[in-house]
């Protein structure tokens, strides 16, 4: 998108790149060191595709020892390292740097152990999220967190980003569903945290690593919890004539004590877009569509659906359909799951935002976004994880028009600022990455950010691991250890700072 400020390039690293390639080829199989322009081209970006950077080289180690040796070498030689899982992240967390080695975990693609006795799976980080469920589903087990990219995203990336998904309302996000990790620190130290036990003694390093966006360590193994499939799963598809009524119904469902397995909202723009795209049979006359999924025992689910129906009718729903069978339930989701590609068909580009707000502010947030859409004259479609207040407004624009690009970014930033004003946060599940790092100051003051930087510094004193992500680009931050936003290079100069 617009010009991105990245950490200062270390010219020395660039000048000794042949020496670096030679040494890396000694540490791992030379075939796994990619340095030719054609070979590294596919790694120039992650799913925030608007930003591209060419890495110095791409290395693909095959085991933990190799990761450790690569990091040891880079640490000694002051070479930056950017870890990468499947590259499906939406916030640019795996964006390469010109003077950094891109460490791909793509070859860590094996499940190490399926342990039904302890209800866990020990896996390498490159295995896909859905790959874990596929490995255990023959015994009716599954891995609960289900980010929309679950077909492609890796479990290591899920840990790095603390990924959520549609079902995180009831089953939690990644951090609540892992038992252990093995990480390699920037100096090459291998550390195993947790295992097959619940919780652990001492500082919760697993909790710290989870969601640290590849800044504190490279994840080389993960132990996840698996759950038994619920007995019965049913869904309701409910249309509302106004945004307020739909938003209020969603809030009321939660406050009545019901904990749905998933609860999603789509606005009119998205109802039409997805229905055109996937023929899901959504109520096209509705301003807002609510999908509520419940699981449990048969009569428990039926009883809860009855309560959901009552709440929705009280809030003037215009249509209400309950899934009669599994096929119909999946058809309810087909449209929701096609939300992003459907938007892709509507405009040359779309920009997906990811703020969280208190559930009760859903209607208010939707109205704010509507007004902003009019202000910026850019269409927006909204899908929300309504159960936990996680918004995904999709701004549609034409990336080839530079002015429209700029407006889109401004629009996105205004949405996230509004989320903070409403009592929420700037990212619910996509991570900060490079995309939202300048907005960190919307939520955190100098002390808060300084504490986080101090942790980073304590575990990676040379600031070599994934630098330039999550925290605002700072002037001499690593050397001075103080937060200082480089005023001239601010991405959003109109943001208030405190």
């Amino acid at each position: 998108m617009s010009e991105l400020v990245l950490p200062k390039i270390n010219k020395e690293t660039i000048s000794k790149k042949e020496y670096i390639f030679k040494n890396l080829a000694k540490i791992i199989n030379p075939e796994n060191v990619l340095s030719h322009a054609d070979e590294i081209k596919p790694y120039e970006t992650d799913a925030l595709a608007a930003y591209t950077q060419t890495p110095l080289a791409v290395v693909m180690p095959e085991n933990t020892k190799e990761v450790s040796n690569i990091l040891k070498f880079c640490h000694a030689e002051d070479i930056k390292v950017v870890p990468r899982g499947a590259g499906t992240g939406l916030s640019g967390g795996a964006l390469p740097l010109n003077d950094a080695i891109l460490l791909s975990l793509g070859k860590f693609n094996k499940i190490i152990e399926i342990d039904f006795e302890n209800k866990c799976v020990v896996t390498q980080p490159g295995v896909t999220n859905l790959g874990i469920t596929h490995a255990v589903q023959h015994k009716n087990f599954y891995y609960a967190p289900d980010p929309s990219s679950q077909l492609a995203c890796s479990i290591g990336g899920n840990v790095a980003e603390n990924s959520g998904g549609v079902h995180s309302l009831k089953y939690g996000t990644t951090t609540n569903n892992i038992l252990g990790v093995e990480i390699v620190m920037m100096d090459g130290t291998i550390c195993r945290i947790g295992g097959k036990t619940l919780d652990q003694e001492g500082y919760d390093l697993m909790g710290l690593i989870c969601g640290s966006e590849g800044l504190l360590g490279v994840i080389t193994e993960v132990t996840v919890k698996i759950l038994k499939n619920p007995q019965v799963v049913k869904a309701a598809l409910i249309g509302f004539p106004t945004i307020e009524e739909g938003g209020n119904a969603a809030t009321e469902i939660i406050s009545s004590g019901i904990v749905p397995a998933g609860m999603e909202i789509m606005d009119k723009a998205l109802i039409e877009a997805t229905d055109n795209f996937s023929k899901a049979g959504y109520p096209r006359d509705a301003e807002l569509l609510l999908i509520v999924e419940l699981d449990g025992t048969e009569s428990e689910v039926d009883e809860l659906l009855k309560q959901v129906r009552d709440i929705c009718e009280k809030n003037n729903c215009s249509s209400l359909k309950l899934s009669k069978n599994e096929k119909e339930r999946l058809s309810f989701w087909a449209g929701r799951k096609a939300a992003f590609p459907a938007c892709g068909a509507l405009a040359p580009d779309y920009y997906c935002m990811d703020g969280s707000i208190p559930r009760g502010k859903l209607a208010e947030a939707l109205l704010i976004i509507k007004k902003l859409s009019e202000k910026y004259k850019l269409p927006v479609a909204n899908c929300f994880h309504a159960g936990d207040g996680n918004l995904h407004p999709l701004i549609m624009f034409d990336g080839s028009d530079k002015e429209e690009l700029r407006k889109t970014e401004e629009f996105g930033a205004e949405i996230l600022k509004a989320c903070v004003r409403l009592g929420g946060v700037i990212t619910g599940e996509h991570g900060v990455g490079v995309e939202k790092r300048e907005l960190m100051c919307e939520m955190f003051n100098d002390n808060d950010i300084q504490q986080q930087l101090d942790i980073k510094k304590s575990l990676d004193e040379k600031n070599l691991l994934n630098p330039g992500k999550v925290y605002p680009i700072l002037r001499k931050c690593a050397e001075e250890g103080r937060v200082h936003v480089h005023r001239n290079e601010e991405k959003f100069p109109d943001l208030p700072r405190f």
């Binding site: 036990t197 003694e201 919760d204 009760g360």
Partner: protein, 426 residues
Amino acid sequence: MSTEMKKNSQIYQDSNNTYYPEDESQVSDIVKELYKKNQPTELIGTGTKNFIGNKIQSAHKISFSKLSGIVEYLPHELYIKVKANTSLELVEKELEKNNQELAFEPIDFGFIHSGKSNKGTIAGYLACNYAGSRRFKVGSVRDHVLGFRGVNGKGDIIKSGGTVVKNVTGYDLSKLVAGSFGTLVALTEITLKVLPKKKLSNTIIIHTEDKNLVNELFEKISGSSSEVSGAVFIPEEPEDKSYDHNKEMVFKFNDLKSKGSFLALRIEGDKISIEEKTKSLTDELALNKLNLSILDLYQSIPFWKKINNLELFKATKNNLLRVVIPPSKGNKLMRYLSNKYKYYVDWCGSLYWIEIQSKKNTKVREIKNIIKELEGYLTIIKTSDEYDYEETIFTVDSTRLLISEKIKKSFDPKRIFNPGKMYRGI
């Protein structure tokens, strides 16, 4: 206190060098002063869990007793924000009004400490991160913290997290603070996730002396879709008159039919779902072939309270160990403990509470080695007066210790807070 501090604030300090800050900025002032002078301090709440961990040698104490009260409780948003020293009792009372609860079932450590209920503060629960029987189903204390405010070891006021459940903005420091025993941050405000209370609770008791069967049942329960929210095994052995007496007092329930060892499992929900779950469990666990007792709602709730609150080891003068293992290792551990130690098993086969007689300090080492082999961990929750500290309270490997030291330093570079509470040098 510096003259300036004295001038600007009236922070009360008693004759035992204990400060009583009234708000967060006063906590910050005190810590800044101690930081400048390089003087460590103990952080104290109501002291209900103070016996856990190493003893702290410090010239100062900061009492948080004045930082108490509910800041914001939004039942429809499923969170409660409280000042750090707010009592659990007050929080539970408020949540009860809206039929909500802290799903992780806070343990009332008052019973093992002094023989009677004494729940303590929210900050204390977060500092220890010990969850009750429902842990294997819903997560620990750390899984229910949405955010906090506090003061680091330099005196800076810091915050992390927020009030929403979906939040990946910056490092998740709430997790790090959970279980850190006050060695990283002096907490001033905590936001907890709350959940609707389950309407009813039923407990199925399976009377059996067959430990292989018990572990088999644990495995089936944890792999069941019937959402069992408590599974505990109370062995009959070893013979010990005072323990037997304690057991009789604790498990005085009309419908608990026979004596001897038993496995109890809890099913929660509304009436119909409990019936349905019971039916499917009957098939899954072949309950019809077993000797059962059923505790109804009025017995089930107090039963789990007693389990949760460690009433079996009420006012123990012995060493009390908290052991967590992968549940598949249960048979091995039970065989070892058999007839030698008083223990019981919670968390569907994962958590063992084991009592070691005060004079048998060497046994602690023996058990510790076994737990290491079983890939679990052991914490000495309560030590007897005769405990020799040959074995440390917490166990940590050298790599994790090194990382922990670095993290400690990033929060509290001069080791002002609770020095040595967890590990030497931290």
